[in-house]
């Protein structure tokens, strides 16, 4: 993004009554264009929010961190540069670059790093912090020839890296990936000497833009994708199974098809972190089964579900997989080597990311692997990620039983499920799963409202805060933590403003059981819901229509009697209850 484009973005007015996202930018240099770019990228990412960026005083990063602690804003961006660790490493001070000052600079950097670490620990106890470590090249301080990494320089970098490692383990702190920044903003093209000398802003505009883009992504992460549907021939493996036979397909160095082995390895890694992997292939099903008996496969048959191997249009197969996974097309990536197949699927599911596996170009295929890692990037891997595939497989079996079993009555199946709920009424800030559910769930979501960790922590600190985290298991196995309700209690009234439930938990009447528990066990006589329709929360809308009938409206009030009249039969057992 050019500076002129960023300025134009900022001229557009946010929607009226837009909720404000306030960010504190702490740095030792004049933030100038960096503020402009961060705000512009955040406006692009969050068009419905009003963005406010507060900055501190020039040349006083420790002081600015202190100000951030006292500020109302709960998200901070801390941009370090070398001069913050020792002013002699900047261009605007003249403290000397001779050999006699090098040892002193090193000592000073270590002291400063220790002091910054303490400040960060203090600030991040109540706020989220995004950190960028020094991104500029070191000035010509060391007397060694430029091609030689001097011991002094290595020790200096180690001191700063040690600081970054210590900061990375602090809860609520994220560190910007310098290697990723290097890919888009080469080191030699970052420093603007003229700007640093004239105004105290050290970055070229292109570097400021690229840095700001990454910072904005760290402040407001993208939703990671949930599932990947892969083709087989010339994608999962090299060759056409129907033509070459089971031993004719390959994924090895010897057969010059190793890039497919790397692809399988990546799919396995994604699967281990909870990503659903399905197969769509125009092939003979028996032959595919035989191929998956090969022991040298890196991604085994059991890790892939479902298999849609047939001769029909791939979009039809993709549609069936979406139904089984119960996810929306925009949460899924489809990978195929054929531009025609990609176009066919894209024409039916325009929201789906359809990516070509470039079978004849290892370099491009490698970039695809990097892109896939990014699309499925997540901050944490939870217990629920490990059991997701099994629970979906069980769900599919359950649906099959419903279709083919002796009774078509939903109650019959729910009754024999042996469903158990564990209800947790106490918020634990070290558990990241509630936040993941709030920020990833689209379908059963009361209003689409997202929040940061700090917002959640701050909300839960209120004396009348209500929190309910629901875990589920039945005879088919556990689903883990599947639902979260947040709200405020005022006497016997509960106002629910956040309610999300994983799509894997649909149709088990968990939502009804939650309300029943709230009414019967917590002494609540009336519940209000802050509802807002979104493009994706149709299942939630259907639930409201079932309970309240009539048409959708922004606020619903439900009393115990109305609920009792509308609730279906519930067969769950409350197995565990966690209460402060």
């Amino acid at each position: 993004m050019k500076l002129v484009e960023a300025l134009k973005i900022l001229q557009g007015a946010p929607p009226t009554n837009a909720e404000e996202l306030s960010v504190y930018l702490a740095c030792g240099f004049l933030p100038l264009h960096l503020v402009t770019f961060i705000e512009a990228y955040l406006r692009q990412r969050l068009p419905d929010r009003q963005i406010a960026i507060e900055t501190g005083i020039y040349g006083d990063l420790p002081g600015n961190l202190g100000k951030f602690k006292g500020a109302a804003t709960c998200i901070g961006v801390v941009v370090f540069e070398w001069a913050d660790f020792d002013s002699r490493l900047g261009l605007r001070s003249l403290g000397g670059w001779g050999p006699n000052v090098l040892a002193d600079i090193l000592i000073n950097v270590q002291l400063r790093a220790d002091s910054f670490l303490e400040l960060l620990k203090d600030v991040s106890s109540s706020k989220s912090v995004v950190i960028s470590m020094p991104s500029l090249p070191l000035p010509p301080v060391s007397y060694h020839p430029i091609e030689q990494a001097s011991l002094w320089q290595l020790q200096l970098i180690q001191a700063v890296n040690d600081f970054a490692v210590s900061a990375a383990v602090i809860p609520n702190v994220k560190i910007l990936n310098q290697w990723s920044l290097e890919m888009s903003s080469p080191l030699a093209e970052r420093l603007d000497v003229k700007s640093e000398l004239s105004s105290g802003f050290p970055y070229r505009t292109a570097h400021a833009s690229r840095l700001a883009k990454m910072l904005a992504r760290l402040i407001q992460s993208s939703q990671s994708k949930k599932g990947l549907i892969t083709d087989l021939d010339d994608t999962f493996w090299r060759g056409l199974l129907g033509e070459s036979g089971v031993m004719g397909i390959s994924w090895s160095l010897e057969r010059h098809s190793h890039i497919h082995a790397l692809y399988q390895q990546l799919l396995r890694a994604l699967s281990d972190s909870g990503v659903l992997i399905g197969v769509v292939s125009k092939n003979d099903p028996a032959l595919v089964l035989e191929a998956f008996e090969r022991e040298d496969l890196l991604m085994t048959h059991g890790r892939l579900f479902p298999f849609e191997v047939n001769w029909s249009a791939k979009s039809e197969s993709v549609g069936r997989i979406l139904q089984i996974w119960n996810v929306s097309p925009d949460s899924v990536v489809f990978v195929d080597d054929s531009p025609l197949e990609l176009a066919e699927v894209k024409s039916v599911f325009p929201e789906m990311e359809c990516l070509r596996f470039p079978r004849d170009d290892d370099q491009a295929a490698y970039i695809l692997l990097e892109d896939l890692r990014d699309l499925f990037g997540k901050e944490f891997v939870f217990e629920e990620d490990a059991i997701r595939l099994d629970s979906i497989r069980s769900g599919a079996e359950l649906r099959n039983q419903k279709m083919n079993g002796p009774s078509l009555e939903a109650d019959f199946f729910l009754k024999q499920l042996e469903a158990e709920l564990t209800l947790n009424l106490t918020y634990d800030a070290s558990d990241e799963r509630p936040l993941e559910l709030i920020n990833k769930t689209n379908q059963f979501n009361l209003n689409g409202k997202r929040m940061s960790k700090t917002e959640l922590v701050s909300r839960m600190a209120a004396h009348n805060a209500f929190f309910l985290l629901v875990s589920y298991r039945d005879k088919y196995g556990p689903l883990g933590k599947v639902a979260v309700i947040l709200g405020k209690v005022d006497s016997q009234r509960l106002n629910i403003d956040t309610w999300v439930m994983s799509c894997r938990a649909f149709s088990q009447r968990i939502e009804y059981k939650c309300l029943e528990y709230i009414f019967d066990e917590l002494g609540i006589s009336e519940i209000t819901f802050d509802f807002k329709p979104t493009v994706r929360n149709r299942p939630l809308q259907e639930f409201l229509l079932k309970v309240f009938g009539a048409e959708l409206r922004p606020t619903y009030t439900l009393d115990k009697e109305t609920f009792s009249n509308h609730k279906p039969a519930l067969y769950h057992t409350i197995k565990g209850l966690i209460h402060a």
């Binding site: 500076l3 264009h33 004239s198």
Partner: protein, 81 residues
């Protein structure tokens, strides 16, 4: 020159969105209330990006009106060609 004037007007508009094109042509730091030193630096950054030129530090003090900026940009482009 007219094309450069038009592109420069566009640069000014990104920084002074409330000025009309006519007002931009006659703008100076004395006639535009919020035109301070930081605005000058931002303006020069925008102009350098737009015209792919580098304006030396010593010119900064003499770039406090639309016509002065136009003159410096014109000279830079002329020197480069």
């Amino acid at each position: 020159m007219p094309e450069i004037r038009q592109r420069l007007t566009h640069c000014f508009a990104s920084i002074f969105p409330n000025l009309s094109d006519d007002e931009i042509q006659s703008a100076s730091h004395t006639s535009v209330a919020n035109w301070d030193s930081l605005v000058t630096i931002t303006l020069i950054s925008v102009v350098e990006e737009e015209f792919n030129v580098s304006i030396p530090l010593e010119d900064f003090d003499n770039m406090v009106s639309f016509e002065q900026v136009l003159d410096r940009v014109w000279r830079r482009i002329e020197n480069a060609s």
